[in-house]
Amino acid sequence: MNERILHAKQLTKIYRSGEVDVFALRGVDLELFRGEMTVLLGPSGSGKSTLLNILGGLDQATSGQAWFGDLELTACSERQLTRFRRDHVGFVFQFYNLIPSLTAWENVALVTEIAPDPMPPEEALAMVGLQNRMGHFPAQLSGGEQQRVAIARAIAKRPDVMLCDEPTGALDSSTGVLVLEALSRINRELGTTMAIITHNAIIRQIADRVVSFRDGAIVETSRNAKRLQPSEVSW
């Protein structure tokens, strides 16, 4: 349980907005361990999404280093980052980001087609409880269902790590719980390392470890003595 899968050293990200420099990250150190579920907690604008984007190979750091095992992400070319995302990372976003012209099954297949060792799309959809909705287009699914399709899409490639950015942000409490249950189940059954970004403090209770952010820096890291089931929380 202590194998370090992703870690960052002194990561800094500066956005230039007009004439002012905005520090999104100020020298962040972070470690994610295999099989662990980590919640990154903090108000919006505190830098957690930026960190996740860099760890996921979607964005470049201004300075500092990020590693995936022995691979230094901050030194990778665009091509290598694409390869990294394709082979190792599963993303879940707040607004689901499904392709509207593809059905649920096809949205998952979009990823399994290019992944080296995917599970069948129907299996991934079954894991999130959507085995009966595979032929539906996003517009025909509820928000929670859409997010579960996004989760199925992320897990179908059997990623080493799943990065989830506000996966329940656009959902009401009971639907959000369903989504969290799906994530939790995948973490348990497949042992997928999982990082969940949220500004919702209640969700922290379902994690192994909680990392709190403020103003681009980590202010606190704590470990939960007991992980709650998603069904035990609500907001």
């Binding site: 984007n53 979607l58 394709r86 993303f91 980001n97 012209s101 979009l110 290019i114």
Partner: protein
């Protein structure tokens, strides 16, 4: 099927109307390439095949009367492979059921066996028997009069009327385009060519052992100028009128003209369509990618390479191109076949070679696909460049400039809605400019189609009503003394007669030379007149040549130049003459002189070649009857009939051409205006829905979008006029030939009509989009993320 391709397919189906609009524009480009190049190749191949198989001559020469013994020396000229010595004369044909006489040519063929040059294709019947009065007739004339082997016709030959029996209907490479004297377009009813065995014709024209026409076929390696010099040297003592190459042979020259026009069509029109379609592809793809920005980010996030995503959108471009190419190729193929078949009817070919060249389709396809990809290049490049984290975020709000805010008077005069429209227009100035340009192409195409009507009616007006105003021209069998004019005046129905002399010459200035005819016009002439470049009548000066602009341009002449004049009908004797004026002429290579000046130049006293006459139309039948029975009259050109025939033919052609071009302009206008309206609607649906929520009416909301379109369409008009002016000018230049020129005239009504058509189509596309605005689902539009 890979999932991305399914997405592609669904996207394509969703945008079918826009894709179809672009594909049709592209199809126009492909179709014009396939049609015009296809017809060009077919016509060219058909002509060469006909020429080859029927041994069409490469050198032509005439003489007054030369002995058949010249056959030996002529064949021995270096490079000559075959020589055919013929008797060829103008005749008048008297056809039952037709009051006016028809002009004709009779040409001798060997008594037995086929001619060695200019062979005839026997369409039906059998070769004529020299012992009887039998003839073969050119197919065009025969079909116009429904003649079949066995039919009979009368011909006035050498002053005597003879009844001849048709035994064969034939085609000749020499008369693929058969045009009579004084005609500007072929009239198969009034011009016929007859072929008669030599021994029969020898008797008729008293030409035993002699010839007055020679057709020569040369080897490929032959140097034609040398052959021509050698032929001229041998024929000059016998009244040789100068040998010419194929380029000066009427039928060949007309076909060449047609081929040049087809080639011009293939090079001018397709680029316009490809340009417009490239722009349209750019426009819709840029918009599509803007809308799919987040999807692009997602695809990048899950590990699709930039190349895979770029290829995905490139494939959409290729789908559009494929539809365009398929539609264009199929319609181009059909049109090309139709056009070739039309040529087959208009020109007389025994067979048609319709060349199905795969390379043509391949070229058209590749060119169109490349044009489309170039158009989509920028949009696709934008996708490749976008980092995934950025792509996933919604784009920043568009920054508008506070246009007009500094101009209080102007801004106050506009409503906030108009201001919205103007700012949007100015926010994307390049796109607005390209949309304007695209629309203006439609206007320009229409002007290009319609202006020829202006030019040609102007040409008819100047040629027929201001210069050649005679009803008919009678040509004497041989030059006659001036008292022939009095004889002509006495013919029934002749109200006015003006004599003229015409002679074949070669004009030389330094190394440039041209073979043409000098015609006289008396200073007091009223039927035929010469106009200066401002269209004012000019009287021929007592000395010197009045040459047309075209001749001046060919020989590089200006007023005052002294040039050599070789008199071909008088042993090629060389004289000198000065250029006294440069005058207007649209038909042929015109050179005029004062009658006394030409008589002096030739030096055999006053002579007339023919008379131009004004007629009392009520007495035409009597005149025609008289002409048919007057031996001295060798030929008659009926300008009055030519005029009507010319108008009819041109009218027909213009109607066809105008409908084709109008269709093309409709497609372009619709493609451009409809697409840009649709894209604006998609970009601004939220904005427009917000306005509706705020309480603006449907009309007001549509106004925001349609104002912008209206501005674009309005700006496109003057630009289109300018472009149309330019296109038309290049058409006029492209059509210029020794046969005729088109004056460059565009009436104001043409500009107006072109604009009217384009505005009407723009309105129609606006209405279609307006219906979509009316149906905007306010709640849904406002809920979706932009």
């Amino acid at each position: 099927m890979p999932v991305l391709d399914r997405k592609l397919l669904r996207d394509a189906l969703r945008m079918w109307a826009q894709i179809l609009a672009i594909a049709l524009v592209m199809a126009c480009g492909v179709a014009t390439i396939v049609t015009s190049v296809g017809a060009y190749r077919s016509l060219d191949e058909t002509r060469s095949a006909f020429y080859d198989r029927y041994r069409f001559a490469t050198v032509f020469a005439g003489a007054t009367r030369a002995p058949l013994s010249l056959r030996e020396p002529l064949s021995r000229i270096d490079g000559v492979s075959a020589v055919e010595l013929r008797i060829a004369r103008s005749i008048i044909l008297d056809i039952e059921g037709m009051v006016e006489p028809a002009a004709g040519m009779v040409i001798s063929v060997p008594d037995a066996g086929e001619p060695s040059v200019n062979r005839l294709y026997l369409r039906s019947g059998r070769w004529p028997d020299p012992a009887r009065q039998e003839i073969a007739v050119l197919d065009s004339f025969a079909s116009a009069h429904k003649m079949v082997p066995g039919s009979r016709l009368s011909a006035v030959m050498n002053g005597r009327k003879r009844l001849l029996t048709v035994t064969a209907i034939v085609l000749s490479p020499e008369f693929i385009y058969a045009i009579g004297p004084g005609d500007m377009v072929p009239d198969p009813r009034r011009f016929g060519v007859l072929y008669m065995p030599r021994s029969a014709l020898e008797g008729v024209f008293d030409m035993a052992g002699a010839f007055n026409d020679v057709a020569i076929r040369t080897q490929r390696s032959a140097r034609l100028p040398d052959v021509i010099d050698a032929v001229d040297r041998m024929l000059t003592p016998y009244g040789g009128t100068g040998a010419v190459e194929r380029t000066d042979q009427t039928s060949h020259a007309f076909l060449d003209n047609e081929l040049i026009q087809l080639r011009a069509m293939a090079t001018v029109i397709p680029p316009v369509f490809l340009l417009v379609s490239a722009f349209l592809v750019n426009m819709i793809l840029t918009r599509l990618i803007a809308l799919e920005r987040e999807q692009v980010g997602l695809m990048k996030a899950v590990g699709y390479t930039s190349f895979a995503i770029a290829w995905h959108y490139a494939k959409l471009t290729l789908v559009i191109a494929a539809v365009g190419i398929i539609v264009g190729s199929v319609s181009g193929n059909l049109l090309g076949r139709g056009m070739t078949r039309l040529y087959g009817e208009f020109f007389s070919f025994p067979f048609l070679v319709f060349r199905q060249s795969a390379d043509l389709y391949a070229i058209a396809a590749v060119v169109s696909a490349v044009a489309a990809l170039v158009g989509s290049g920028r949009a696709i490049w934008g996708v490749v460049r976008l980092p995934p984290a950025v792509a996933m975020q919604a784009p920043a709000p568009t920054l508008y400039r506070s246009v007009l805010s500094g101009v209080p008077g102007l801004a106050r005069g506009m409503s906030q809605l108009s201001l919205m429209a103007m700012r949007h227009l100015l926010r994307w100035p390049i796109r607005a400019a390209l949309t304007t340009l695209g629309t203006s192409f439609a206007v320009a195409l229409l002007i290009t189609a319609l202006f020829s009507f202006d030019s040609i009616s102007y040409m008819i007006d100047t040629v027929f009503f201001r210069t050649e105003r005679q009803d008919a021209t009678l040509v004497f069998a041989s030059p006659r003394a001036p008292d022939a004019l009095q004889a002509a005046m006495r013919l029934p129905g002749v109200m006015r007669a003006e004599g003229f002399r015409a002679t074949q010459v070669v004009l030389r200035k330094a190394h440039r030379e041209r073979r043409l005819a000098i015609t006289t016009i008396a200073p007091d002439a009223d039927l035929a007149r010469v106009l200066d470049r401002n269209l004012a009548p000019v009287a021929a000066p007592v000395a010197g040549l009045m040459i047309s602009e075209r001749v001046a341009a060919i020989l590089g002449l200006s007023v005052g130049d002294v040039i050599d004049v070789d008199l071909l009908e008088y042993g090629g004797r060389r004289s000198k003459a000065a250029v006294s004026a440069i005058v207007q002429s649209y038909v042929g290579l015109a050179v005029y002189m004062h009658p006394e000046a030409l008589d002096r130049l030739i030096g055999d006293g006053p002579r007339l070649s023919g008379v131009r006459v004004a007629l009392d139309t009520s007495r035409l039948p009597e005149l025609y009857a008289a002409v048919k029975s007057t031996p001295a009259i060798g030929g008659i050109a009926l300008q009055a009939v030519s005029r009507t025939r010319f108008r009819e033919t041109i009218q027909e052609n213009i109607t066809i051409m105008t409908s084709v071009y109008t269709a093309l302009a409709v497609i372009i206008t619709f493609g451009v205006v409809y697409n840009s309206a649709r894209i604006q609607l998609s970009e601004r649906a939220r904005e427009l829905a917000s306005l509706r929520v705020l309480g603006f009416t449907r009309g007001e909301v549509s106004g925001v979008l349609l104002t912008e379109l209206a501005v674009i369409v309005a700006l496109a008009q003057p630009l289109g006029w300018a472009l149309g002016w330019g296109f038309s000018w290049s058409v006029v230049r492209g059509f210029e030939s020794d046969l005729f020129r088109i004056p460059f005239i565009i009436n104001r009504s043409t500009f107006a009509l072109a604009s009217l058509v384009v505005v009407a189509i723009a309105l129609l596309s606006a209405l279609i989009v307006r219906r979509r605005i009316d149906r905007l689902d306010l709640v849904r539009v406002l809920k979706t993320r932009d």
